[in-house]
Every structure is written in C-alpha cells, then in structure tokens.
Symmetry: C2
Subunit: 495 residues, 2 copies
Amino acid sequence: MTNSAYKNLVSRFREIDSLQHAITYLNWDQMVMMPPGGSEMRSRSIAELAGISHAKLTAPEIEVWLSELAGSADNQASIREMKRVWGNANCLPAELVKEQIIVGSKCEMGWRTQRAANDWQGFLKNFKPVVELSRQEAKYRQEASSATTPYEALLALHCHGDSEALIDSIFNELREVLPDLLQQVVERQGDSQVSVNADFPVENQIKLNKEMLTTLGFDFNAGRLDQSMHPFSTGSAGDSRITTRYETDAFLEAMAGTAHEVGHASYESMLPEAFKGLPIGESRNMCIHESQSLLFEKQIFYSKAFMQFITEKIHSHLSAATSLSADDLWKLGTRVAPGNIRVEADEVTYPLHVMLRYEIESRLINGDIEAEDIPELWNEKMMSYLGVDTKGDYTNGCLQDIHWTDGAFGYFPSYTIGAINAAQIFSVIKSEHAAWQERFKRGDVEFVRDWLLKKIWSQGCQLKSQELMQSATGSPTKAESLIEHLEARYLRCEY
Amino acid sequence: MTNSAYKNLVSRFREIDSLQHAITYLNWDQMVMMPPGGSEMRSRSIAELAGISHAKLTAPEIEVWLSELAGSADNQASIREMKRVWGNANCLPAELVKEQIIVGSKCEMGWRTQRAANDWQGFLKNFKPVVELSRQEAKYRQEASSATTPYEALLALHCHGDSEALIDSIFNELREVLPDLLQQVVERQGDSQVSVNADFPVENQIKLNKEMLTTLGFDFNAGRLDQSMHPFSTGSAGDSRITTRYETDAFLEAMAGTAHEVGHASYESMLPEAFKGLPIGESRNMCIHESQSLLFEKQIFYSKAFMQFITEKIHSHLSAATSLSADDLWKLGTRVAPGNIRVEADEVTYPLHVMLRYEIESRLINGDIEAEDIPELWNEKMMSYLGVDTKGDYTNGCLQDIHWTDGAFGYFPSYTIGAINAAQIFSVIKSEHAAWQERFKRGDVEFVRDWLLKKIWSQGCQLKSQELMQSATGSPTKAESLIEHLEARYLRCEY
C-alpha cells in the first residue's frame, strides 16, 4: 500500500519533470534563439505547460499518497522533499497567485522606465501592492511551514534550510569586519597600475571561452555555450546550456562569467542519476548553487595559479592582450573599489550590497518598515557600509535591482551565503590538496570536480543545507570562512 | 448549447496547439542545437507532451461536443476539419499503434546498416511486420472514413482530398509522356559544357542564402536560418525555422534547398490568423504544401529571370563563382540525367521515381503484391521509366528511402502532385503578370507572394484540396500543367 503510494508519487514527479524539461528548453530558446515574432505564441505555450504541471502537482491524489506514507520508514528524505515541493505549490490561494502576477508584472514593466527616469514616487505606487501581496504570501507560507517569521517563509523558497537566525548571525559578523577590511584593501591597492585599452573581437573571445570551458571540465557532448544579453545557465544532465555576454573591451569579465556559469551547470549536470526527476534529486538550495558558481569564478578562475595557466590561452586567442602578464590580469580581476551598483561590485564590497538589501527586505516583509522608508535606509547603509553617497540617485540606488519588482524577496542572501560556502568548501579542498596551485598552473581542476561531485553534486537533497555543509566541510556555514579568504587574497595577496 | 459545444472544441484545440507548439520547437532544437547527451531526456519529454496532447484529443467529451454539433449550420468547415483530425486520432486501437512504433523503429534502425550493406534479405525480415501492421492500420482507417481502398486511407493522412483515382489518372498521363520527353531532353542537352571546380566557403554561402531569403520575402524578425544535416522547415506564424545543408562544392544545391524551404515556411507563416490553433487554420495537405516549396524552388529560383538577378549576389559573396554567368548557372540548375537516386533527381526524372514508388506501395498496402516482390518490380520499372539498371543494387535501389521503414506509406505521391500544383499555380500567376520575368530580374517576387497569400495561404482548410486548386487556378490538378512546364523549360528553353 505505502509502496504503491510511493511508486505513484515517483511516476507523477517524473511526469512533472518531463514537463519542466520542455519549459526549460523553450525558455532557453526564447532567450537565445527565438526571433521577436515568436513571443506571443511562446508565452501561451509555456503557460499551458506550466498550468498542466501545476495541476499534476496539486491534484488531490498527491495529498492522499503523501498521507499514506506518513511515518513510512523507507525513502524518508525523498518523501520529505516531495512534501516540501508539494507544500510550496499548495499553500497559496489561487486568487492571490493570480493577483501577484498582475501587480508584479505591472510593477516590473513600470520599473523599466522609472528606473532610468529616477522616478521613485512613480515606482512606489506600483510597488506598495507588490509588498502587500508578498506579506500575505509570506503569512500563508509561514502558516504552512515551520518558518519563525513571515520573511523566513519567503527565504525558504530560495535558501531552504538556512534560517533567518543563521543569516542574521553571519551577517552580524561580516558587518563587524568588512567595512574596515575594505578600507585596508583600498589603501593597500592604491591607484591601479594596469589598464586595458584595446579591442578584443567577440569571435576570438568565444573560442577562448570554449577552450576554458573544456579546461574547467565542461563536456560539449552534453552542453552548449551561446551568447545572450544576460549570462545564465540552464538545462540538466546531458544537456547544459550556458550563455555569456561579450563586450569587445571586457574579455576578463566575460571569462569570469563563463567560469561562474560552468559552476552552476556542473552542479545541475552531476545530480544523482538514481533520483532523476524527483525532488530529492534536485540541487539543494540557491546558497549551495551559488557556492558552486562562485567557487569556479572566484576560487578557481581568479586565483593567481589558474590565471597563470589561462594567460597563455588568452595571449594565443587575443593578440591585443599579449602585453598583459598573468600578474596584470590577476590585479585587474581582484581590483576593489566601492561603488553604487551591486552587479558591478567586487568580491570585497559585494557582501555589503547584499547585507543592505537583506536588512531592508526582511524588515519590510516582517512589517517593521514600509516601502516609503526604503530610500532613507538605503542611503544610510550605503554611506555606513561603503562610504558611498546615493542620496537622490534612485536610479543607481534602491531602483537598481529587478528582484523586488515582482516580489522576489528572500533571494539576495544566497549571493553572500553562496560566497561564504564557496570559500569554506574551497578551503577544505586546498587543505586536502597541498599541490592545488601547481595543478591549477597546469590547467588541472579535475581534483576539485571530483571533490565536489562526491561531497556536493551527487548528494542532491538527501541532506538539509546545513547538514550538507557540515558533512562536506566539517562545519555549518560560518562568516570567518569568507573573511579568511578575503584577507588572504586582498590583504596578503597569497593566491 | 451547440454554441457552447463549439466554444469548448475551440478552446480544446487551442490547448492542443499550445502543446504542439512546444513539441515543434523541442524537435527543432533536437535537430539543430541539442548536444548528443540530451537525447534520452528529450525523447521522454516529447513523449510526455505527445501523450498529453493525444489524451486531450481523444477524451470522450470531444465526441459529445462533436455530436452536439451534428447538422449545425454555423462553422461547418471548421467542424468538418475538427472531425477529420479527431477521427484520425481515434480510429486505431492503442495496441496497434504501440506495436507499430516498436516494429517501425526496429526496421528503421536495421535499415541504417542494411542499406549500406546491400542486405535486402535482412531488411525484408524486419519489413514484413511493418507492412502487415500498416495493412491493419489502413483497414481501420478505411472503415472509419470514406476511403475506397485501404491504401487511400493511408494516402489521406498526407494527401487528404486527393483520391487514389485522381492520382492514378494523373500518373497514367505522365507515364504516357515523361519517358519519351526525358529522351528528347537528354538528347537536346548533350554533354554538359558547364562545370564547377572550386571551393565556396560555408560562411559566405550562409550570407548569400540569408540575402536571398530576404529577397524571397522571409522576415528575420519572424524566423531563423540555421544549418542541419537534412534541410527542413518548421515553426509557425511569427517564428519560422528553416535549415539548409551546405557543401563547399555545391552552393547552387544549398540555395535551391533554401528556396524550397522558404516556400514551406511562407505557407505556415501566413495561415489565417482568425483560425489560429484550429484544424481549419492548418495547411491543406502535403500536395499543396509541396506545391509551395516547389514553386519557390523550381518556378522562381531556377527560372532564367531570377537566376539573372541572383547571379550578381552569387558573384559578390562567392569569389570563386565569378566565372559563372547567369546562363551557366541556369544550365547547371536545369541539367537532366537519369539516375538511381530519387533525392538527387532533376525536375524531369523526379516524377518517374515517385510514380514507381506509388505503384509499388499502393499495390503492397492493397494486398496485390507482397514485400518479397518489391526488388523485381523496382528493377523492371527503373528500366522501363528511366532506362537505369538497378538489378542486385539494393543500396541504390529499393533500400534507398527511409519512408517505408516505419510505415509511412502514402507520402510519396505528394512530391509529384505538389510539382504539378506548383506548375499549374505558377502558370496562372504568369498569365496574370505578363511582366513576371522583368520583375524577377529585379528581384521582385512580391506579386507572387501576394497571389499565394490571397489564393492559398490565407485559405487554411476552408476548402478541400481540389476545391482549392479549382478556386485558385480554375481547374483541379491536371498532369498537363507539369508537362507543359517541362516542355517549355527543357525542350524550348523558354524560362
């Protein structure tokens, strides 16, 4: 009886996975290949598939099957994850979801022009209903879960397993250290000695990035690299789709982007085959996901040793770069400068941008502040964390991000928890492979992939996120992992 | 009551259309973009979507809605086409369909090596069950329709509205004329004076083909041109996907292929917007579809006048082609030579290849011959129609085509009925536009597109195929339309 209930659930989740596969590649096609004329019909088709998928996940028999399995001794982790996914899909009134789509897309559409026009008041009008509905959503999700606050219930959609209390305590530690550390780094680096004023043809950059992908373990029999306005990674085992954005005057950024995406893609490609299509076979959460991309980008690509290896390839593909040494490129890639914009921020200032957003969005959803309060808080924190004055500049201040416009609260922390996880994981890998720099200098990163495959990728959702960090690194996520890394790289210039 | 039944049907068929949209572009991606590692999951996803689509089409409520509409005065053509599509999906036992997939894919897989190995006996063993099941399918389809023979019931899947009797009578006329005409053309052409021995880089060919596509009315805001092993066209209004195969020593063939596919793509793009997603809004049948592609390829691209226009573009993109005049290229493109292989055949011999296959497959399905009889009949007809000896050479004889391997009987006639329809349609367009050659010389084909839009593309399935030919050209499909065209081009060298 319970055995057949589990079998039914497995086959239902695999049907849903087949539909999600279709949506995934139709979305990729839309962003990378589709001509503009295809939009309308494509949206209709994806909406139809999403509707069928949602109906399969919310059908009453799922609740029956899950309740038959209550207390079952077998497949406990798998059932737990099925319940989580099912619960996420079932706890909101359909009416609320529909309203959210309407006010969210209105706010996002408005934002596209209001941002450029520095029009905070115009934005605020559309944004208040978004906040109101997100607060309702958070309450429903909190009731249906063990979340301790409404915000934590939204956080769990992206960072499930990493509690608000954990993030609070981590960010408190960072707040103690980072602003000071930043000052020291800026003083230490002084004025930049390296500048790049040349043209690097996109087709050469593409060849270079493809060669680097192979070095980083990407298999072109099971994936593609294409171009898009916003770099992203999607797909699944056997068929990863990575995109990169190229500018003729910024080849290093494109390469870093490619390295970042290969981290995401590797994780998705190497999830446990036995759990394919089941919630337990999915990636753990965005804090783990981002740790994989940041490990490839920050820990591997921007290391002195790997830069030494890749510089030769850069020279062979980009003739205008031959005057830049490996050391020049490393200095370019590790340049620190406080600024307005999160997506342009370096490794040292990025967490400060994230913390500021976390502090605002958590208080906003928990009802401690109102949307009107955002600009003042933003300015205050930008000044205190980064020494940057954003007063009156909404465009490059609180209007810069798209995330909040359609109610995606609770996503920001994953960037920084991911950076910490990456540093923490890589410090264990380094301690187990004393010759890591020698290997990177030869372009050998396979030992990193092997380690990640064993400890992270092959685990799927069998463990909760902090159990996974504990089992992989011997400790839950801790702020000092990132602080140590930043001090070693930016103060002592060790790697 | 009947009104709501029709509304229900419309909304159901549009849901099915949204699923078919997904399948269409996932198939395109599979053939053009997907890395090999994606195959397994892609097949599973497409099978899931096809299953959902089939279930939506065969659900019992559809029969109820259709029967509520029996005798309805409104939307008669739309309801007729819904019934046709629904009937095609409902008349076979699920068991038979499943068995067909198994034996068909076994036969096709085997054929891939047996063809190269000249292994007729090996193929025959797998092929006999395919024929047996196709005969069963044909009987079921005949019972559920007004088909006069089992073969006609299969024919209707591809050439609905063009009866076996019509095709018989057309092919009888062609058989009287073509072998003789072929002899005259071969004698007239003598040995070729033009030869091409140069290398034409693929990237230059791509630019050339894209420029030609624009001339032929293709809109890159609503479509793409890519490469694939086998050229094809897919997609729908707003998002046409054409592929071409390039060889560095055969640029004219690639261009002809592109022109062919733009005919298919234009038809699919310009179907009536008001009937979008409904059976009445689809293309009429393969005989009409192929007439559109052959009109662009044979009537436009290979005309002396268009060749004069396009030669300048060829010279500007392919430096190795500058020694070839428009007249040289026209001679190259209209060279006639009997041979073994259908897909390499010219405009004069192609119908003879098709007739041979039609005569064999119709007798095979109707039970007048057995699979064992094919090679002897093949050799006999090849000798009598084309004067080509294929005895013992199965590889280049009856094993050359993929169509029959998985039971696609009834498709071949559409190639030649399409060629006739193209000649017949274009002769009317010429008679209405005396200056057609002057226009082609300037690269102006818009008057052709306008005519086709009005008379063919915008019609969807409102008329049956022969009603459509009658209304567009003043006559049903008649063999002499093709004969006149071939005589004018190949004996009198008029255009």
